[in-house]
Symmetry: C2
Subunit: 410 residues, 2 copies
């Protein structure tokens, strides 16, 4: 059945991109209403069908497709859940809403025979959810990692390629509209975290609460981190990663040292990149714009076309997989301690520690994800940077040229 | 409707990969018959349902899904066309069959309400046809280029990364099963050409006959080409490309110099890579294994799952686009002439010529695609290498350091 009337909630960056994309083709007249909360906002080419309302009634019985493209996850919840409850076809790009409520929303979708699609919520123009649903449903995945946030990646590119400082780069990203309404979500790694949670559902069939996962952002990356990276021909990227470690799922969002042979090395500016490693297909890499009005708007439009064909996510792995999640996995990180305090004062329970630079208090440390997570607020407060390092050769090189400290036991 | 009985024609590399992939899940019992022509061939784990027949009756009325995975395009034609004529659901991975007969097969599919899918025919494990159909139907594409043949790419990787000679590298590729039954199709650029033709249908809505397009393979790449590339920190890749040049479609398959900033630079061995440039989405890059039993078999399996959901390619651009195809576009190539003859003897109609290396008879030449195509057999016979070069900075550098010859007019 061809759906007809579309109601669009929100007319921000993605909403305007969708409307522009829609406007160029025969579907344009299907857009019935656009709902905004504040019509005093500056917007380009405001269509006449725009309505400004704070009305809390969100059961759109007279509509066929509901597009939820507002910024508040709390208000988005009502729009999405209530319309799914009456069996509507709903599209959303709200990663926080989805990451925090997916178990419930899938249930409501199923019970009431609605459809819920959200390709625009993850990695902008890279159709990664559809690829996982359509091509990896029966494929055992070992790892997914990537750069999922265009805004923080833009900032890191400016720092590494144009020697801007963090503050200058952030301001530029916001000016260009690459930053979300709240920059903390981008630079703090929360946006990447929500996307990682959503991909983990499709790739491994496991719903994990965002608050159970360690996410460290790019705000605390130090001068000495950047110098260290450049000296070793590396870049720092904000990498979100889910992998099977001894049959348990391990998830992190961490600033990570990336070498020139890594596919993510050349993912620059507002681009996103995703690497999938799986049993039979091997390695795949996807790169595309992860932010921006039209790149994301075009994905919302693709969801609309899929809904016209009654396409649904199958969530096969949710029914068939049975992975456990754990933060016990040990990882190697470089910790740069603020000069005014001693690393021992942190009382981190560390397996192994090597001193890289005594003057700058830079240490190579082996530590569990759980331990870092438990101490995240303390690390953040002291602006202590944590930088993941995966390259085994580099770790070996560094441990050889450094000296091992006595084990610090908390 | 859930389809039931599957008949598989062919049990070679892809067929065995598919069967293995299928065998690991609940669909395994749907595989009813496997047809082979020669049951004396060595095969691993031959299932009991295998039948050896030369029977020419190919209307499989009692089957639900037909998988055509044989090597002969002529015999494949009968299997695919006749089953589509009786409205069956048909999956093929036969790029030559598809590239040469797509207009007719789409018509037969439509008239008789069958379904015809062929994701496994293009770029192995990269789901590029599905991506184009689902996410680019309304998106104006400017260019698609990529490495579409795993076998020739494997050979080039061995030459560049391990200093093997062409013959050694070819033998290795064949041994590992990365080369098709007929190596000429791989190394001569025909396999890439067929895939390019198929992608052009989905990306630009234009069906072009393979014989109208210039394809030059990797057999004539010279020692001096390889040295030239290495000296300039470049690699040679067999690049298939379709692009809009002044509103006309221009298509080529050519050995091409690739610099380190190009996404295709790091596509090595049996991997394929595809770069899409489009108006609203910008640039996207996809990389994955382009050959091999399981990577391709898994795509055939994904087609089966799509057919279970009555998924069809929409071919929207075939109905809405109206591009003209032309070979008039001028390109810049490096021509290395066999030492025994003079470049003037070739009687190529050239716009511009610069001498790069007088001793090795290496020239930078601006020439139309049409002119190269008209002289392809002559160039091949004399083993004269043609190497495309797109990097404007490098062309400028080369023309400065070279001297211009008098125009050679045929």
């Amino acid at each position: 059945m061809r759906t007809n009337k579309i109601k669009l909630y929100g007319f921000g960056v993605v909403g305007q991109g969708f409307q522009l994309y829609l406007g160029n083709n025969e579907d344009a007249k299907r857009l019935h209403t656009i709902i905004v909360k504040d019509d005093t906002k500056k917007r380009k080419n405001v269509p006449s069908i725009i309505e400004c309302t704070n009305d809390k009634t969100v059961r759109d019985r007279d509509m066929d497709v509901i597009l939820e493209l507002i910024s508040s996850p709390e208000e988005a919840y009502g729009i999405v859940a209530e319309n799914l409850e009456i069996g509507k076809k709903v599209i959303s790009a709200n990663k926080k809403l989805i990451a925090e409520n997916l178990a419930e929303l899938i249930e409501v979708e199923k019970t009431n025979k609605g459809i819920f699609l959200y390709e625009g919520a993850v990695c902008g123009s890279i159709p990664i959810i559809r690829v996982l649903n359509d091509f990896y449903a029966n494929e055992p995945i070992q790892e997914i990692k990537g750069i999922f946030n265009g805004s923080s990646n833009y900032i890191l590119s400016k720092i590494f390629n144009e020697n801007l400082c963090y503050e200058e780069a952030l301001a530029q990203a916001q000016e260009l509209g690459f930053a979300e309404a709240n920059p903390t979500s981008d630079v703090g790694g929360f946006d990447s975290l929500y996307k990682l949670v959503i991909l983990t559902v499709h790739a491994f069939g496991k719903i994990i609460k965002p608050e159970e996962i360690l996410n460290i952002g790019i705000q605390s990356i130090s001068e000495s981190d950047i110098k260290f990276a450049q000296k070793n021909n590396l870049k720092i990227k904000l990498v979100a990663k889910v992998s099977l470690v001894e049959d348990e799922l391990s998830l992190t969002v961490l600033p990570t040292l990336i070498n020139v042979h890594n596919d993510l090395y050349d993912v620059e500016n507002e681009f996103n990149g995703v690497v999938i490693k799986s049993e039979n297909i091997g390695k795949q890499f996807y790169k595309g714009k992860g932010a921006g009005s039209l790149p994301t708007g075009s994905m919302v439009y693709a969801d609309l076309k899929a809904i016209d064909n009654d396409y649904k996510y199958d969530y096969k792995k949710l029914r068939t997989s049975n992975y456990q999640f754990s933060n016990d996995n040990k990882i190697t990180v470089i910790i740069s301690v603020n000069k005014s305090i001693d690393i021992k004062e942190l009382e981190l329970e560390i397996t192994n520690i090597f001193t890289l630079d005594n003057y700058n208090k830079q240490f190579l440390v082996e530590v569990s994800i759980e331990e870092l997570k438990a101490n995240k607020i303390k690390l953040q407060k002291e602006r202590i940077s944590v930088l993941a390092i995966e390259d085994r050769d580099l770790i070996n090189k560094l441990t050889k040229s450094s000296y091992q400290e006595e084990l610090i036991l908390a």
